[in-house]
Symmetry: none
Subunit: 402 residues, 2 copies
């Protein structure tokens, strides 16, 4: 197991680590030779941290491989995504707080709109709003099947999650979303013989569920995707002896954190200040805090270069609130790059800033940006080493061997 060598080295130092992830942080200049989003953003606080700390850049999976959000966070948390695979259904269900267990089968659900012939006319039911979707989700929650327990929760807008619990359920089932309109949703088709039982049950559930919502004007159908069971990951407590907390707005990131055993902190609002206030309240109860900022990625995906720079500036402005807590280790990085120029996740190295006042070795860099990071004291390294580096700087790791 990848973590075996770490376990004997862990001690019980009472130090605090913060991993601040600005999703999709890395960028590209719009004009050849220009500045990236992070280089463009005015970030006096981070620049000061860069000056006193060490920079570097991390590779999530391999050079050239663009990670999705799930694998990217697994890598940051030290779980090699080429070894550990989390099904999207498990992520989504965990993200809305459904306690997924080994043997449960989870799926992501989309509401859709069907015509009289049962064919899909809108795969996302016109992206109906959360208030519109909630009562329809409640109708789904009434559907029961003998022999299994079924839980349905709303996720966001037209999206929900469904978990089935029972004996001998396996998740190797194909998506029912045909990925186009003009055709009916597909049946849940088992890929392996051992998944036949679960597929049959999901088909029964889909039939019953579609009946109960058939008169809804905006969402009278549904599709299921990403069938998955609990990935059985070792927890942060298991492998790092860390009581870990997740402070994130979006379900997906709460989901992956939950699956590695982090406690999910609830809070109101979605500004950096709201997240840092939640951090402050949880401060005494945990050793490790994963704080996730989503909007850097969203602006990148929108192709909004200056919007992304502005989000970074907002984080920088709020940062003193976090620094007032005096974390022993603060890492500021991303899970991947999302250059506004490409309007998508990318494979480019991810800027990495390490602040650890008592143990850091300073480098020659004075600002936080891609060019500074590619010259940073940590050079380029694997995202998988992020947590062991944090543990070391928090003095939580003893010597390996005598």
């Amino acid at each position: 197991m990848p973590f075996d060598y770490l376990k004997p080295l862990l001690n019980t130092e009472k130090t605090k680590i913060v991993l601040l992830v600005m999703d999709g942080l890395g960028g590209l200049p719009i004009e050849p030779g220009g500045q990236t989003e992070l280089e463009t953003a005015v970030t006096p606080v981070m620049d000061e941290l860069a000056k006193n700390g060490t920079l570097g850049q991390i590779i999530s999976i391999r050079n050239g491989i663009t990670p999705g959000s799930g694998p990217a966070h697994l890598a940051l948390f030290g779980y090699d995504p080429l070894i550990y695979d989390i099904g999207r259904g498990a992520l989504e269900a965990s993200g809305v707080g459904m306690a997924l267990k080994k043997g449960d089968v989870a799926a992501r659900g989309n509401f859709c709109l069907l015509d009289n012939a049962g064919k899909i006319t809108d795969r996302r039911a016109g992206r109906i709003s959360t208030p519109e979707a909630l009562p329809i989700v409640e109708m789904l929650q009434e559907v029961r099947l003998p022999g299994v327990e079924i839980e349905v929760r709303h996720v966001k807008e037209y999206r929900f999650a469904v978990v089935m619990r029972g004996e001998n359920l396996e998740p190797d089932i194909k998506d029912t979303d045909p990925q186009r309109t003009g055709v009916a949703p597909l049946p849940a088709q088992a890929v392996t013989k051992s998944s036949q039982k679960a597929a049959d049950l999901f088909n029964q559930w889909i039939q019953r569920a579609t009946e109960v919502i058939q008169d809804q004007p905006k969402a009278n159908g549904l599709t299921l995707r990403g069938f998955a069971t609990h990935p059985g990951l070792p927890t942060f407590e298991d492998v790092y002896a860390l009581r870990a907390a997740c402070i994130a707005v979006y379900p997906m990131y709460r989901g992956v954190s939950h699956l590695v055993g982090m406690q999910i902190i609830d809070f109101e609002g979605d500004a950096p200040e709201d997240e840092f206030s939640a951090l402050q309240r949880a401060w005494d109860d945990y050793d490790f805090f994963f704080v996730h900022i989503k909007k850097t990625d969203s602006k990148g995906e929108d192709g909004d270069f200056y919007g992304k720079a502005k989000i970074i500036e907002g984080v920088d402005k709020a940062l003193p609130q976090l620094l007032d807590l005096n974390p022993d280790v603060l890492i500021i990085t991303g899970d991947h790059s999302t250059p506004a120029k490409l309007k998508s996740h990318s494979w480019h190295p991810i800027p990495f800033l390490l602040h650890a006042p008592t143990t850091v070795r300073p480098d020659s860099q004075n600002s936080f940006g891609e060019r500074a990071c590619d010259q940073g004291g940590l050079n380029t390294f694997s995202a998988l080493e992020t947590i062991s580096l944090a543990l070391a700087h928090a003095r939580k790791l003893e010597k390996y061997g005598a």
Copy 2:
């Protein structure tokens, strides 16, 4: 399998990648603190590419490991040479266009000179010229054995390749070259029981072959080395979905390219201009082009520091012809270092230049040389990641995971 995670990510973007390998590119200064061959060479075109692109340096196998040409190219192509092993006989035979199949046994052959007692007086037959060797190879082609098919082709000067095809042939056979003069060639000795049949047949062939050339004044004997079968490598089409072409002068490089499924482009001449013209003619038919420049390595091996710099300058001068094709991705690198100072291959990191106008993240470097590369935005990475990086910049790779 190392490539399994890549396959589902491959798309069908119609973009073009060129991997320009200057063999043995990396060098060393002659005087302490001086410039290397690449730093000494005047290369305005590459410097401009460096300014707008990203630099880095690659390690072929491990720090400190000097690769031979076969493993070095395998690594560049993304095939870990510690996993994939190609016998030299297979390389040589493939290099001269012999269609080696699984179960065939190939060997490299050297003509030698024997005295009246059958003892070797010259292991390379005075390095006889190609015109002198060709008729002797024709004599070898006349030798037949029952139950197997035997093919012999000339390689270069005193070198030839032989392939034996038949039932139950295995290649675990020791070299017949005793590596010194004054003794007779060794018999082909089977290392494993299953190779006994092939060894016996090769011994019969050697005896008959030596009889037919025994009166030749310059080359009256032969030795065989590097017995090998087809290594069964997955092809570039298999693992990268790339229609790949090889433009190389030397048989060895054509051989390794052929073994990974590249099409070998034939052309006249051996100057960079000739190779780039061949590239131009093949441009529409392939997605990926491996262009190999040999003479940087030859000059390095000769200890000719300025000769090597001059070869680099010649490539730089011809480069606009290649750039006129507007490749989406151009990588300029080496397979290993061959410092003229050491007159041999070496383990030093290999300079790496990435030109990819629409997707590259610029770094702070403005010229192509070892010191600039060690400060480059890509830092130091494994040669194995060269192709995935190229695929990413050519937009041929989808996201890994959701």
